[in-house]
C-alpha cells in the first residue's frame, strides 16, 4: 500500500493570461481547492487548464494536439483579450516542505497559418532556470517552436519530474449509468466518466482493495453511519459488484449491490476511490450531483480524511451551498469566480475582509460566499416563475 505522505507534488500556484474567461488570474492553490462561481463563470475552463498540461505530455497528445482539441488558439484566447495577445500558463509545483520546487511557464500564440506557436517556454527548479526558450536553435528553425520541450523525452531529462507530474493529473466527472453498465465503455482505461470503476476495483490487488474500501467506508460513515461494510463481490456468473452492508433492524444487516445504490452514492464512491487510487492532482466536477443535501454537507470532511492518507491534491468545482457549510473548509481553499466585463476574476475567500467578518458574526461559509457568486442579473430569471 502506498503511503506517499507529504512527498506528493501538487500545484501550489497558477498564473493565467488571456485563457478563455480569464484575462488575468494569479492565485495560490492549497491541497484542497473549491471553485465556486455562477454558471458559465469558467469553473470548468479553469479545471481544463490542468487537463491541458496533462494533454501536452500524454501519449497521443502533445502541444499541437492539446490546442487543437480545444478548438485552436482563437477559441482558447479570452474574449476580453486584445486580438493578438499571447496566452500564458504558469504554474508553481511543490510539496509540503518545499512549496516552490518547480515552476513551469508556457506562453503561446498562433502563426499566420493559425498554428499554435510557442513564444516562451521556461522551467525553473528552486528558483534557478533550467530552460528558457526560445534558444538560438529555435530562432534558426522556427518549426521547433511548434513543440514544447516538455513533451519530448530526449530533451526533458532535467525536468522529467514536471512532465511526469502533469501526466499524473486526472479528471473525473463520473456518470453513474456508466458504472452500472460498464459495457458502454469497454476497454477504456482511466475513463473520466467512471465506466471502468468496477474494473479498476477488480484489477487492484485484494489487500489494497480491501484497505481502500475500508477507508471509503470510514469516510462515508460520517454521513451514512449505518454502512458497516463495503466489499467487492462476484455474483453466480462471476460478474463483479460493489456491495455494502447496512446495519439493519434485522441482526444480520442487509447487503446492497451497486445496482441498488443511489446514483449519487455510487458516484461519490467512485470519486473517493479515485482520490485513493493515484497520487497526481485530481479534478472533480460537482461531486454533489444527485446526492441528498445531508450527504453533500459531509463531502468536504470525507475528502479531507481520504486526502490525509493519500495526500493527493483535489480541485473541486461546486454549486452547492450545502457543501460550503462545512466549518472545516479553509478560506484559502475556496476560490471565488466573479464574472465581470474584463473576464472572470478569481480570488481566494481569505482575501475578502468582509467574508472574515461575516464568519466571525456567526454566518456559515455558504451564506458568506454564495451571494457573491449569483449571476448579476439573476433577478430576471424570476420572471419565469419561482
Amino acid at each position: 500500500m502506498r503511503e506517499t505522505g507529504s512527498r506528493a507534488l501538487r500545484f501550489t500556484s497558477i498564473h493565467l493570461e488571456n485563457w478563455r474567461n480569464f484575462a488575468l488570474v494569479e492565485v495560490d492553490l492549497q491541497r484542497r481547492v473549491f471553485l465556486v462561481g455562477p454558471n458559465a463563470s469558467g469553473k470548468s475552463n479553469f479545471l481544463d487548464v490542468f487537463r491541458f498540461l496533462h494533454d501536452i505530455v500524454s501519449v497521443g497528445g502533445g502541444f499541437q494536439e492539446a490546442v487543437r482539441r480545444r478548438g485552436g488558439v482563437s477559441s482558447l484566447r479570452c474574449l476580453a483579450a486584445r486580438r493578438y495577445s499571447d496566452l500564458v500558463v504558469r504554474v508553481g509545483i511543490g510539496g509540503e516542505e518545499d512549496l516552490s520546487a518547480w515552476e513551469y511557464e508556457l506562453r503561446f500564440t498562433q502563426d499566420k497559418r493559425q498554428r499554435p506557436v510557442i513564444k516562451k517556454e521556461q522551467v525553473s527548479r528552486q528558483g534557478s532556470e533550467l530552460l528558457s526558450r526560445p534558444i538560438d536553435q529555435d530562432q534558426r528553425d522556427p518549426e521547433r517552436l511548434t513543440q514544447t520541450y516538455l513533451e519530448q523525452v530526449n530533451v526533458n531529462q532535467d525536468f522529467r519530474e514536471v512532465a511526469d507530474f502533469f501526466a499524473s493529473v486526472r479528471y473525473l466527472h463520473i456518470v453513474p449509468q456508466l458504472v452500472r453498465e460498464p459495457d458502454r465503455s469497454v476497454g477504456r482505461r482511466d475513463d473520466p466518466f467512471g465506466g471502468d470503476f468496477l474494473e479498476q476495483l477488480v484489477r487492484t490487488a485484494e489487500k489494497t482493495r480491501n484497505a481502500w474500501l475500508r477507508r471509503i467506508r470510514d469516510a462515508l460513515r460520517v454521513a451514512v453511519p449505518q454502512l458497516n461494510e463495503l466489499e467487492l463481490w462476484r455474483d453466480v456468473r462471476g460478474t463483479p459488484h460493489l456491495r455494502g452492508k447496512y446495519e439493519h433492524w434485522r441482526p444480520q444487516g442487509a447487503w446492497q449491490t451497486e445496482e441498488r445504490f443511489s446514483d449519487g452514492t455510487l458516484r461519490l464512491m467512485g470519486l473517493l476511490w479515485a482520490s485513493l487510487a493515484g497520487s497526481g492532482p485530481l479534478l472533480l466536477e460537482e461531486p454533489e450531483l444527485s446526492l441528498h443535501p445531508d450527504v453533500v454537507r459531509f463531502i468536504p470532511q470525507m475528502f479531507a480524511r481520504i486526502q490525509r492518507r493519500s495526500s493527493r491534491q483535489i480541485l473541486i468545482s461546486t454549486h452547492s451551498t450545502d457543501l460550503l457549510r462545512d466549518d472545516g473548509i479553509g478560506l484559502d481553499e475556496v476560490l471565488l469566480l466573479e464574472p465581470g466585463t474584463e473576464g472572470t476574476s478569481m480570488q481566494p475567500a481569505s482575501s475578502y475582509a468582509e467574508i472574515r467578518e461575516l464568519l466571525q458574526g456567526g454566518l456559515n461559509l455558504a451564506e458568506a460566499v454564495i451571494p457573491r457568486t449569483r449571476p448579476q442579473r439573476a433577478e430576471q430569471l424570476t420572471l419565469f416563475g419561482d
Binding site: 453511519p225 470532511q301 472545516g328 484559502d332
Partner: protein, 190 residues
C-alpha cells in the same frame, strides 16, 4: 455533530431515533419550534439548542421560547456547545485523541469556549492524523480543522471505546438533565 450526539442519546435510553430536522441554526429553529411542539403532542420530540455565548441562561430561554411544552416535548439547552458534553467523558476522550487525561478540564461545563478547548487538546495529540484532522491549518482562517466534525462523530458513535453518555452526565449537569428528560419521554410513550 449535534445530530450524532442526539442520536446517540436517544439510542442510549433505549429508543430509536426518528427523522432529524433543523441543523440550520438557532434562529431557523426558533421559527419552527411551534411546529415541532405541535408534533410533540403525537410522538416524542427532542429539541437541542446550544447557548453559545448568548446572554440568556438556560431556564429563561426555555420559558421565552417554549412557554407551553407539549407532553412529548423534551426541550434541552446545552450550556455552551455540545463539545462540553463530549469533554465530560474525560477518560475516553483523552484516549480517543491520544492525550494525557489530566489535560482534559475537570469541569467542562464551566469551560468558556469548549470548541476552542477541544481544538487545543487535539493540538497536543500524539497522533499526527488527529492533529491534521482537528486543528485548523495556519492561514485557513477557521476555528476548526478540515475533518474536525467527522472525528468527533466517530468518537460519539464509537461504541465501546467511544463517548459514554452516562459517564459524561456525572460531570455535566445539563447532560444529566437531558438524559433524565429523555428517559421520562421513553417511559411515558411506552
Amino acid at each position: 455533530m449535534d445530530e450524532a450526539v442526539v442520536r446517540r442519546l436517544v439510542e442510549h435510553v433505549g429508543a430509536r431515533p426518528g427523522p432529524v430536522h433543523g441543523r440550520n441554526g438557532k434562529i431557523h429553529l426558533r421559527q419552527r419550534l411551534r411546529g415541532y411542539n405541535r408534533a410533540a403532542h403525537l410522538s416524542p420530540w427532542v429539541v437541542l439548542v446550544d447557548l453559545n455565548h448568548d446572554a440568556e441562561c438556560a431556564p429563561p430561554l426555555q420559558l421565552s421560547w417554549l412557554p407551553n411544552p407539549a407532553p412529548y416535548m423534551c426541550f434541552r439547552v446545552a450550556v455552551r456547545e455540545v463539545e462540553a458534553w463530549l469533554l465530560s467523558d474525560r477518560d475516553h476522550l483523552a484516549r480517543f485523541i491520544s492525550i494525557p487525561v489530566a489535560q482534559v478540564p475537570l469541569n467542562p461545563e464551566a469551560v468558556d469556549d469548549p470548541k476552542h478547548t477541544m481544538v487545543e487538546l487535539a493540538r497536543i495529540s500524539r497522533r499526527r492524523e488527529i492533529r491534521e484532522d482537528m486543528v485548523p491549518r495556519p492561514g485557513s482562517g477557521r476555528m476548526v480543522g478540515p475533518a474536525y466534525t467527522s472525528r468527533l462523530v466517530e468518537f460519539v458513535l464509537g461504541g465501546a471505546t467511544g463517548w459514554r453518555p452516562e459517564v459524561a452526565a456525572r460531570s455535566s449537569d445539563s447532560l444529566d438533565r437531558c438524559l433524565r428528560c429523555l428517559r421520562r419521554l421513553v417511559k411515558g410513550s411506552k
